[in-house]
Symmetry: C2
Subunit: 473 residues, 2 copies
Amino acid sequence: MTLHELFHPRSVALVGASANPLSGGYAYATHLVEDFQGELYLINPNVDEILGKKTYPSLSAVPGPIDYLISSIAADKILPLLPDCAKKKVRIIHFFTARMSETGRSEGKQLEQEITRRAKELEIRFLGPNCMGVYNPRVGLTYGYWFPPESGWVGGIFQSGGASTDFIHYGALRGLRFSQVVSYGNGADIDESDLLEHFAADPETRVIAIYIEGVKDGRKFIRALARAARSKPVVVLKGGKGVAGTRSVLSHTASMAGREEIWRSVLRQAKVSGVETLGELLDQVLAFSFLPEFTGRRTAIAGGGGGKSALSADIWEAAGFELPDLPPEMREKLKETASGVWDWIKNPVDLSILQDSPVLPEQLFGMMDENRVFDVFVFNLTEDDPIPGEMWRLWAGEQADGVIRFRDQSKKPVVAVIATGEVSEAEMKEWRWGMIGEVRKRFINARIPVFSSPERAARSAFQVSEYYRRRST
Amino acid sequence: MTLHELFHPRSVALVGASANPLSGGYAYATHLVEDFQGELYLINPNVDEILGKKTYPSLSAVPGPIDYLISSIAADKILPLLPDCAKKKVRIIHFFTARMSETGRSEGKQLEQEITRRAKELEIRFLGPNCMGVYNPRVGLTYGYWFPPESGWVGGIFQSGGASTDFIHYGALRGLRFSQVVSYGNGADIDESDLLEHFAADPETRVIAIYIEGVKDGRKFIRALARAARSKPVVVLKGGKGVAGTRSVLSHTASMAGREEIWRSVLRQAKVSGVETLGELLDQVLAFSFLPEFTGRRTAIAGGGGGKSALSADIWEAAGFELPDLPPEMREKLKETASGVWDWIKNPVDLSILQDSPVLPEQLFGMMDENRVFDVFVFNLTEDDPIPGEMWRLWAGEQADGVIRFRDQSKKPVVAVIATGEVSEAEMKEWRWGMIGEVRKRFINARIPVFSSPERAARSAFQVSEYYRRRST
């Protein structure tokens, strides 16, 4: 049975379903009752119903088959559960249950080994222990509050459940949607390599994101990673590189983190580039999701005043792009339409210079594209308000729509850089953050990647061009 | 007359006051009418009043003295204005007026030179041309919509007006308040070195932020920078380092950007560390503003689940901090209060392990501080919601309050890391961003610096410790 089938169950049982809102057994029950599209069985011998849904006292009392079982009971109750699972022909168990090898205690390690051995004998696959399980919006299997109900194209392999929920929440805000995200914790049975092979083959998945603390089998992992990267972009974040981080992952998922040099060589061999932070992981997956294939690095930048333009130019160049100046043919054209500033405009285009003239950013990008001098187009929004707020809001929206039209016509890689503000309750009342939110939303809906700063945008776009260069050689 | 006096005028005249909301003359009129606390004279020969305030047809018609004059008229009208200014004994002119040397055209350069020569003869100091002028909340002199009305401790020297308004808006959201911020544009008279000397001497200013595109007099600048850095922290962002950035600053403020190596050596000689982005400039100024003097690097981290803890540890170590493990005395203590997990807890402290136990982050930090093993304390907020949102919101608030109490008692450097979300209109309805906003606000009100990511926090805190180390040797 493939992982694809295991992750698309028609029936789910939750052992340890609970009415206590502080428990995991309550959270899973809530998500499943609200979202799961197949048959659902809540198991709890002590209460008759949870969240308005009838419960069953035991697995054997469940009338139908069970494809997928979520275990939210204490570690010491797992071994007795396994034969019952086998009797019900459960195909896969997700052990939310924790406190095993990650505690660092020998009894925890022994229990995990024993569970692994028994499950293998009984031919039951499992996720975890110590993990959040599978988020598959297509069947309504989910493990977090406020996960998007729509399915998408990003596959996620996360050794940490918390990192996975942050990835889903923050990714959703930026327009990402997910095929499946799997939190696999200690990975005693299904591991990072199995999951990589699954997502590499999964036709719904176009980009793979990985957060990994330790690799179980180095050779297997390098092979799986290299194979996956040949078929689709893979972005890898490794936790536990320094002294304290290594100590930390040991107590989190009992992973042996390995030395950083070894890790770098793994990525090099697999021709995959790693990222250092969760923010970069999101940025990179976003860039791969919304940018078309491109390899060129000649960049056109427009938007913002002079300071933003200069800083932007520095940052894009430092990231590996070039900013050729405007071609002579374009200057000649500008002489007619923007006679006051034609010789003054440069790349990056300081839009504040153009405020009195009739050249819109959309037209500028159009002219720049005509001469085939540019490969990538970057729009910087001015979040500042030299004119009263409501007027500026309209103008910013029009600029954004124009840039979106340009992308739709040219099909070129277009990147938007718009600050996100720094959320702080009182200030949310100010129109500016509303405007920023609105404009960001327009780009997100148009599937143009939006980054909160030029450095994040440039770094992410560079990796996309690198990936397609590597693939084309 | 010192810049301090020039920037604290008792009377201001605005030449080129306008009723057209798209013009600079309207924006300045609005700000002055709403905020300026001294005498205000709007000059416009064509209309009787603007924004309900009487106008004067010319400078000579103004009844009282004029300390400070804002010029929002076209470049070709400046030379005739200067003798009138001299007659009225105007002390300083701020030329919002642009289109001079920054256009790259010889007529623009000549005009700027001529204005500079004439002003000098007439003994009038000036800011600009091509700049936004002075924001001094203490006297209500301001140049942007929604600038904070309260005065503060951050001095800003900005060659770009747009960069300065972004700095003020985003800084205000993070709790920064300003003594004065000066946008000085082409800097034909008052330049970066003059401004540095002013802010170095200004008793209200505790931290200086600089955005600079080009230096007029290298030796003078290095001297001023080194002197300022000996008295208070100075953070420098340079625009125009690469090929296109250099071209860009030339067309923005007519600055000769200079080679990057030279710039680096300037900073080294002055013992000032530079930043590369506007985000870093804000982060760094925030860290200097809210952290006490410290030089130690032994760091205690608590908060978040295992993934966030591991990533955090990696990032703080890579930035130059150490994370010693918990001292044996503390483990003994934990044996009593958290018997289930005492041997499992590590530094960084994965708070999800402690959820069943009675040890709060506040108490943990307290125990860690008792043993004098740690110099810096980092709190990571879990923005995720393993339990229903409203309960989590309460819990997050309690955690924050506890961390604030710990800082109040210990007086140790405490840093909070809380994601900012990515503003996007529709999603603002979700409780999570409200919670994040609320918790951020608590820390900001308590003057604990909040950063949106561990990498930004660690980098900024490191520079603070570096600064005080340099100063103590």
